[in-house]
């Protein structure tokens, strides 16, 4: 007995699944782009907060903050401070502190650079610079004695 019900052929199924897969990939990329933008915004906000905290801390040092020194601070994926031994390091702040010039010995130049060490989704760059700032800091101990 011959059945009246017609099914899909294999080729029809393959074409349908192919079209759906292409569309699904396109839609996924849209959501991932949105996720990356959100992550960049969050990173930038945290970078600004952390650099501000560092600048204010340097500005409040009563003694000499030091001249010609460099430092690196590491953070994990939740922007919590971590050390170099930890494996989940995701962000780093590189800092350089140097005398502004010889005739302005009481002023220091602080350069801060915030970097994301792992690439964002859909991006290939290994290191992404998130934020960079240069400020002048007063050495509060400089005028403490006769110059």
């Amino acid at each position: 007995m011959k059945s009246n019900k017609k099914g899909f052929t294999l080729i029809e199924m393959v074409i349908a699944i192919g079209i759906l897969a292409v569309l699904a990939v396109g839609i996924m990329r849209l959501f991932l782009t949105s996720q990356v933008s959100h992550q960049k915004a969050v990173d930038l906000d945290y970078a600004v907060l952390e650099t501000n905290a560092l600048i204010e801390r340097f500005q409040d040092i009563k003694g000499s903050p030091g001249n010609g020194s460099s430092f690196t601070i590491y953070y994990n994926d939740k922007w919590e401070r971590t050390n170099i031994i930890e494996s989940n390091i995701q962000y780093a702040i590189y800092g350089d502190l140097a005398k502004l010039s010889d005739d302005k010995a009481g002023l220091l130049h602080l350069d801060l650079r915030v970097v994301r060490l792992k690439p964002y989704i859909l991006e290939k760059n290994g290191e992404n610079e998130i934020y960079k700032i240069s400020v002048i800091i007063e050495d509060l101990s400089y005028w403490g004695e006769d110059k």
């Binding site: 839609i27 949105s34 915004a41 930038l44 600004v48 700032i133 005028w143």
Partner: protein, 169 residues
């Protein structure tokens, strides 16, 4: 009269199409929302940079004043009463200052406004310093104090040029 679809052919295609359209709409809304979030974060970061740029200019000015105070202190080491004469000469004509005398003590006030124009917006830093009469043992930080270190932005001005009806017939 209620019309009923007799055939269900194509209904699955219709459902899938609607699902895809919904997903695309939500994805675009999400992108638009996060793009504005990123724009806001960038603006905040730029504002922050401008703030510290102005603050750094203020620090340079303060340092220049303190250097001149130090020079004047050295010149007037044996005669502290002559400090303000030396200091006044060292400051030159460009710096706005006033000297108040009260009995034997004198007090100098220095004012400075630093203006920074960026993206057609002006930001200001108002600095007021006071310098007290030194004695033989005074150091720079003993006599110089920052009275005001105020940062502000050009206020929003109400556009009152629009010709509005005042209710008079």
């Amino acid at each position: 009269m209620i019309l009923k679809l007799k055939s269900q052919n194509g209904s699955s295609t219709l459902l899938i199409s609607l699902l895809l359209v919904t997903l695309v709409v939500f994805a675009l809304l999400s992108i638009s929302s996060t793009a504005s979030e990123l724009r806001l974060s960038r603006k905040n970061a730029e504002n922050n940079k401008t703030y510290y740029m102005l603050d750094s200019e203020g620090k340079r000015f303060l340092y220049d004043i303190k250097s001149k105070i130090n020079e004047a202190l050295i010149l007037s080491r044996n005669d502290p009463q002559s400090f303000f004469e030396h200091f006044d000469n060292l400051l030159g004509d460009n710096i706005i200052r006033t000297i108040n005398s009260d009995n034997n003590t004198r007090l100098m006030t220095i004012e400075r406004n630093i203006i920074l124009e960026e993206n057609s917006k002006r930001r200001f830093l108002d600095i007021i310093l006071t310098i007290n009469q030194p004695d033989t043992e005074s150091s720079v930080n003993d006599i110089c104090s920052v009275e005001e270190w105020k940062m502000w932005q050009e206020p929003f001005e109400l556009n009152n040029t629009i010709d509005l009806w005042e209710g008079i017939p």
